[in-house]
Amino acid sequence: MGNRWSGMFWSLLFLAVPVLGVATFAVAPSYDIWLPKDVSEHGRSIDSLFYFILGLTGIVFIVTEVLVFWFLWKYDGARTKAPATFIHGSHALEVVWTIIPAATLLFLAIYQMNTWADVKMRRPRIAPTVEVVARQFEWRLRYPGRDGELGTPDDIFLVNDLHVPVDEDILVQLKSMDVLHSFFLPNLRIKQDAVPGMKIPVWFKATEIGQYDIVCAELCGWGHYKMKGRITVESREDFDRWLAEMEARQEATQPEADATAAEVAAVP
Amino acid sequence: MTASAISLPHGDGHDHHGPDAHGHDAHGHGAGHGHVHLQYQPGLPLSRGKLIMWLFLSTEIMFFAALLGSYVVLRFGAPAWPLPHHVHLSEPIGAFNTFVLICSSVTIVLALEAARANKSELAKIWMLATLLLGTLFLGVKAYEYSAKFSHGIYPWSPRSRVYEKPDLYYGSAVRARLGEPAMIDQLKTLDDTPEGSLSAEQRTGRERLRQIRTMITNPDQQPFDLAVVADQVMPLASGGGHGHGSGLNDVFPWLRLPAVIPGGNMWASTYFLLTGFHAIHVVVGLIVFTILLLYKLDRRTSGMIENAGLYWHFVDLVWIFLFPLLYLF
C-alpha cells in the first residue's frame, strides 16, 4: 500500500510538529510575545515554575513527538520488508512508564506547594491597604484615610486608578457588588476572582516603579472587555503626596463622594 | 490466545423475549428478513429490564445527591436558618407521611409476591393499596404546601411574605398590607366586635394589633420598633418552642402580615426544591401503578411489578433521607 515517498512525506510532517513547536516558543520572546515584565516579588517563583514546567513538558514533547516521527519513518509498511512484531505488550515497560511520570508529577505537585501557599495562603498580618470593589464595568477603590481604617468617614474613594507604594506589602480586600469579576494584574502575576458576597484578601509586593494594566479576567457582561484599570507603583513619598491630593479633592466634592461612599460601603 | 470451542450458556440466549423486554421490538418475527436469532453471553444474571432499572436508579441517586449536597452547603453556609416550627413544619405530619410511604413499600412487595404466586386478584388489591397510599402521601404533602402558602412562604420571591430582617422594606410591606382596602374593612370589623365575643387570646391580640398600627404609621419609627412588630406578628425569639401559635398571624389567620424569618427564603427555596422533586417522582410512580393496574398482574407481568417496585423503594429511600434532614435537624 502506498509508495515509498508518501510514508516519508507523512513522517516528516509529524516531525515538523516538534520542530516548529519548539521554534515558535524560541522565537516568540524576540517579538515580545512572551510573559510580560514581572514587577512583583512572588512573580519570580511563579515564572520560574512556568519555565521549569516548560522545560519538563518540552522534553516530554520533543521525545514523544520525535518517537512518533521515527516509528512512522522506520516502520513504514511500503519500505520495510520485516514483518510486524507480534507483541502484546511488556509488563516491565508498563511499570517503568508509569513510575517515571508518577514520580515526576508527584515531585512537581510537592515542589509548587510553597509558591501557592505564599501567594494565596500566607497572608501578611497587616491592615488592608485598599479595598477594591468590582462592579459592571469598573473598579471602585477605597483607601482608608489618615486613620488607616476602612469604613470610617475619612475613607478616600476612587475609580479605576489604583496607586500603591513600591517595595511594601500590599493587602487588597477584594469584593464585588454584582456579578463575578476577576482582578488580573498581568505584571504582578496576580489574578483573583471577585465574588459577590465574599471578601477575598489579595496581597503582593511591587518591586518596580511604573504604570501597569488592571484587567478584568472573568466574563461579567457585555462590557467585560473594557473593564480596565491602571495600577501605579510609586515611591512612598509620591504615594503619600498623591493620597493627600486625592483627599483634598474629595473634600471639595463632598456630596458626590458621599453617594459613592454609601454605595460602596453597602456591599457586604 | 485461548482458542477453544465456546459453549453457549444454557439455552437462555433468547432471554430478551422474556417479560421484561417489552422495550425491545421483537423484530425478525415473520418480518421476512430471515436474519439469524443471535445468541448472547450475558455478563450478569439479570434481565435487561432489571439491569436498566438499576442503572437508571443510580443516575437518580446522583441527581438527588446533587440536590441534597446543595442543601447541605446552602444550609451550613447560611448566616441564619429557621427552626422547623418557625416555618410551620410539623414533625408529626412528616412522621405520618414517612409511615405512609413505608407502608406503601410493603404493599408493593406484597403485590409482587401475589403476582409471582399467580394470585392476580390479590396482586391487584395490593397494587391498589400502594396507589392509594402514594396518593395519601401526596395529599398530605399538598396540605403541608398549602399551609406554607397560607403563611406567605413561597419558593419564589415575588409572592413570598417572608423577610430576612426587620428593615425598612419589611416595614413598608407591613404598612402596605395593613393599608389594603379589604384589610381596612376587616380591621374595622375587628375593632367593632364587642369584647365579649372575643377569646382572651383574641382580646390581647387586638390590643397588640392596635399598637402595631400606630407604630407602623408613625413617621419616625425606629428599626427597633420594626423588630417589635416582627416579633408580634411571628415570635421567633420567645423560646421554648411554643412561640409558634401565639403570633398575630395565628390569632387572626386572615391578617397574613409579612413575617420576619431569618434564612426563611433560602429555607423555602431548598424545601420546595427537595420535596418538589421528590413529589414529582411520587407522581411518576403513581402513573406507573395506574398503568400496571390495567394489566393482569400475574407471573408474566411480575417483572414489570418488580421494576416498578424497585423504583418505588428508591422514592421511599429518598424520603427517608429528606424527612430527618428537613423536619428534625
Partner: protein, 602 residues
C-alpha cells in the same frame, strides 16, 4: 449444550432491505422514526455534522472580531450584527457562548456517543441491536427540541445566551445583569436539560447492551477498545450528568421563580438591589464542574478508543498493552470525578482545597501517560499503512500530547494564577477537543465509512483534507500558547486597548487566516463525504483487513446486523500472528485457523 461454529462469512450481503412498494409510512419507519441502531447512529452523524458546520462558522465570526475588532463582518455581518455590519460586544459574547455550546453539546458529545456509539456498539459486540431500541430512538428525538431551543435562541428578544458555556451566576441568574439575557439563557438551560435526557437514555441503554448482549465468547477482555471506551464513557455520563441536570434546574428556578440558590445576599446590579439572596455563586461552579470535568473525558475517551482500534489495524500489530489501556481508561474516569476543582483555583475557593485538587489533577495525567506510551508502543515495530484514517489517528496521538502537556501548566496552581482565563487555556482545550477528538472523529469517519455506506471514501482527497486541516489547525491553535503566555485574556471582544496586549493584533490576524483556511478545507471533506456515499468504490465486508466483529457483517449491515451467528474466539487485535498466512486473524475465525496454517506450513 451445543458448540457453535461460525461459518465463514458469505461474500454477498444476505440481508437485503425490501425495496419494492415503499410507502411513506415504511419510509418514515425506516429512515426517520427508525429503531435500528445503525439508522439512529447515522441520524446522529448527519445532525452533528451539520451543527459542526454551524459551530465552525460561529468560530469564524469569533476569530474575525479578535483579529479585526469592530470592523465590518463579511457575510455574517448582514445577518446578525449591528449598524454598519459591525458586531456589538454583547453579540461577541453570544458568539463564543453559542460556539462552545454547539461544539460541546451538539457536536462532540453526540457525535461520539450518539453517532459512533450507536453505530458501533451492537456491531462490535455481535448484537442485532441495542437492548432497548425504542429508548434508543427516543434518545435521538430528544435532541431535536434541544436543537430547536439552541437554534431558536439566536432569534429571541435579547439574543442567545451570552454568559459563556460555563454559565456562571450571578450573571446568568440576575436578569438585570446582562441586558440581553431574556429568553436566551432560559432556552440554553432548557436545551442543556434536553441534551442531558438524551445522553441519559443513551448511556443506560449502552451499558445494558454491552453487559448483556455480547456474542458468545466475547468476554469483557476481548472487547475492542472502542467498546471499552464507550462503556466507561456511558458510566461517566450516567453518574456525572444528573448533577448538571439538578444544577440546571436550580439555575432555572433562580431565573424564573426568583429563588436564590446562586445569588448572594445584598447583591446590587445596575443600581438595583436584588430581592433574593442567601445563596452562593461558587455552588454553581462546583456543581457545573462536577459534571463538566468528567464531561471533558466523555469528549475524549471514545475518540481514544477508536484511535486505538485504527492504529492497530494500520500498524498491522496487536495493541500494545491491552489491559493497561483498559485500566487507564477506567483510571481516567475514576480520577475524573475528583479533580473538578482545578477549574476553580482562582475562583475564591479555599486555597487549601486548591492543593488537593492540584494533586489529584497531576495524578490524572498518569493514566493518560500510560495511554500515550502504549500508542507509541503500538506503532513501534509495525508495518504502517498511511491511510487517511491512520493519518488522522496518528495526529490524534501527536496532538493529544500537546493538549495534555499544556494541562500540566494549568494543573500547577501557581502557574494557573497567571494563565487562568487566558488563551493558554483556549489553546489547551482546542488541542484536546479539536486537534484531539475532532481528528479522532475524522479518523473514525474515514475508517467506518465503508461499513456505514458500503463504499469507500476517496483516499487522495481524504489526504488533502488531512494535510490542510493539520496545517491550519496548528497555525490557529499552537500560536494561542504564546498568546496565553502574554496573558491575553479569553472572552474579550477587544483586548488591544490594554497596553500589555496592544501589539498582539498581527498574530491574531494570522490565526484568523488559518482558521478561515481550516473551515474552507472542510468543503473538501463535505464533498468527498457526500460524493462517496453514492459513487465511492464498493467496499466489501472487510476493506481494511481488520479483526473486529463489525467487519464480518455485510457493508452496510442489514436489519439485524449479522447473517450468521458470530462466535468469538480471540481478542480483537491478532495482527501479524507468526506462521499465519494472512496477516490478521478475525475474532470469529475458527480457533484452529491459526494452527491449521501452522500445520500447512510444516
Amino acid at each position: 449444550m451445543s458448540t457453535v461454529q461460525a461459518p465463514h462469512a458469505p461474500s454477498s450481503p444476505a440481508v437485503v432491505t425490501p425495496r419494492t412498494g415503499q410507502s411513506l409510512s415504511t419510509f418514515l419507519s425506516t429512515y426517520v422514526f427508525s429503531k435500528d441502531h445503525k439508522v439512529i447512529g447515522l441520524q446522529f452523524l448527519f445532525s452533528t455534522l451539520l451543527w459542526f458546520l454551524i459551530g465552525g462558522l460561529l468560530a469564524l465570526a469569533v476569530r474575525w472580531q479578535i483579529a479585526w475588532p469592530w470592523s465590518q463582518v463579511p457575510v455574517l455581518g448582514k445577518l446578525f450584527a449591528q449598524e454598519g455590519g459591525q458586531m456589538s460586544p454583547e453579540f461577541y459574547t453570544m458568539l463564543f457562548t453559542m460556539h462552545a455550546t454547539v461544539m460541546i453539546f451538539l457536536v462532540i458529545i453526540p457525535i461520539l456517543a450518539g453517532a459512533f456509539g450507536n453505530f458501533l456498539i451492537p456491531l462490535m459486540i455481535g448484537a442485532d441491536d441495542m437492548a432497548f431500541p425504542t429508548l434508543n430512538m427516543l434518545s435521538y428525538w430528544f435532541m431535536w427540541p434541544a436543537f430547536i431551543a439552541f437554534g431558536a435562541s439566536f432569534f429571541v428578544e435579547g439574543g442567545a445566551a451570552s454568559s459563556g458555556w460555563t454559565s456562571y451566576p450571578p450573571l446568568t441568574t440576575n436578569v438585570a445583569s446582562s441586558p440581553g439575557s431574556g429568553w436566551g439563557q432560559t432556552l440554553w438551560l432548557l436545551g442543556l436539560t434536553l441534551v442531558g435526557v438524551s445522553s441519559m437514555l443513551g448511556s443506560v441503554n449502552y451499558m445494558t447492551t454491552i453487559i448483556l448482549m455480547r456474542a458468545p465468547g466475547m468476554t469483557m477482555f476481548r472487547l475492542p477498545m472502542t467498546i471499552w471506551a464507550m462503556f466507561i464513557t456511558a458510566i461517566l455520563q450516567a453518574f456525572a450528568l444528573p448533577v448538571l441536570t439538578a444544577a440546571g434546574f436550580m439555575q432555572l428556578t433562580d431565573r424564573l421563580l426568583g429563588t436564590g440558590f446562586f445569588t448572594p445576599e445584598g447583591n446590587v446590579v445596575n443600581n438595583l438591589a436584588t430581592s433574593t439572596g442567601g445563596g452562593h455563586p461558587l455552588l454553581w461552579q462546583h456543581l457545573f464542574w462536577f459534571y463538566s470535568h468528567p464531561a471533558v473525558y466523555i469528549m475524549i475517551l471514545p475518540a481514544m478508543g477508536m484511535v486505538s482500534d485504527i492504529l492497530t489495524t494500520f500498524a498491522r500489530k496487536p495493541l500494545f498493552g491491552y489491559r493497561p489501556m483498559v485500566y487507564s481508561i477506567a483510571g481516567i474516569a475514576g480520577l475524573g470525578f475528583i479533580v473538578w476543582g482545578h477549574h476553580m483555583f482562582i475562583s475564591g475557593m479555599n486555597p487549601a482545597l486548591g492543593i488537593t485538587f492540584m494533586v489529584s489533577t497531576m495524578m490524572i495525567a498518569l493514566p493518560s501517560a500510560v495511554k500515550t506510551f502504549n500508542w507509541l508502543g503500538t506503532l513501534w515495530g509495525g508495518r504502517i499503512q498511511f491511510t487517511t484514517a491512520m493519518l488522522f489517528a496518528v495526529s490524534f496521538v501527536s496532538m493529544f500530547i500537546i493538549g495534555g502537556l499544556s494541562g500540566i501548566f494549568m494543573a500547577a496552581t501557581p502557574v494557573d494564577i497567571f494563565i487562568h482565563d487566558t488563551y493558554f487555556i483556549v489553546a489547551h482545550f482546542h488541542y484536546v477537543l479539536f486537534a484531539g477528538t475532532a481528528m479522532g472523529v475524522w479518523a473514525g469517519i474515514y475508517y467506518w465509512f465503508p461499513k456505514m455506506f458500503g463504499r469507500l471514501m476517496n483516499e487522495t482527497w481524504g489526504k488533502v483534507h488531512f494535510f490542510l486541516t493539520f496545517l491550519f489547525l496548528n497555525g490557529t491553535f499552537f500560536t494561542m500558547h504564546i498568546l496565553g503566555a502574554v496573558g491575553f485574556p479569553r472572552r474579550l471582544a477587544d483586548a488591544y486597548h490594554y497596553e500589555t496586549f496592544h501589539h498582539l493584533q498581527p498574530l491574531n490576524a494570522f490565526m484568523t487566516w488559518c482558521a478561515i483556511g481550516m473551515v474552507a478545507t472542510q468543503i473538501i471533506f463535505a464533498v468527498n463525504f457526500v460524493w462517496s456515499m453514492f459513487y465511492g468504490p464498493v467496499a466489501g465486508r472487510n476493506p481494511w483487513n481488520a479483526n473486529t466483529l463489525e467487519w464480518t457483517a455485510p457493508s452496510p449491515p442489514g436489519h439485524g446486523n449479522f447473517d450468521f451467528q458470530p462466535v468469538v474466539h480471540r481478542g480483537p487485535y491478532e495482527f501479524s500472528v507468526p506462521g499465519c498466512e494472512k496477516d490478521h486473524l478475525m475474532q470469529t475465525d475458527p480457533p484452529d485457523a491459526h494452527s491449521a496454517a501452522l500445520a500447512a506450513a510444516h
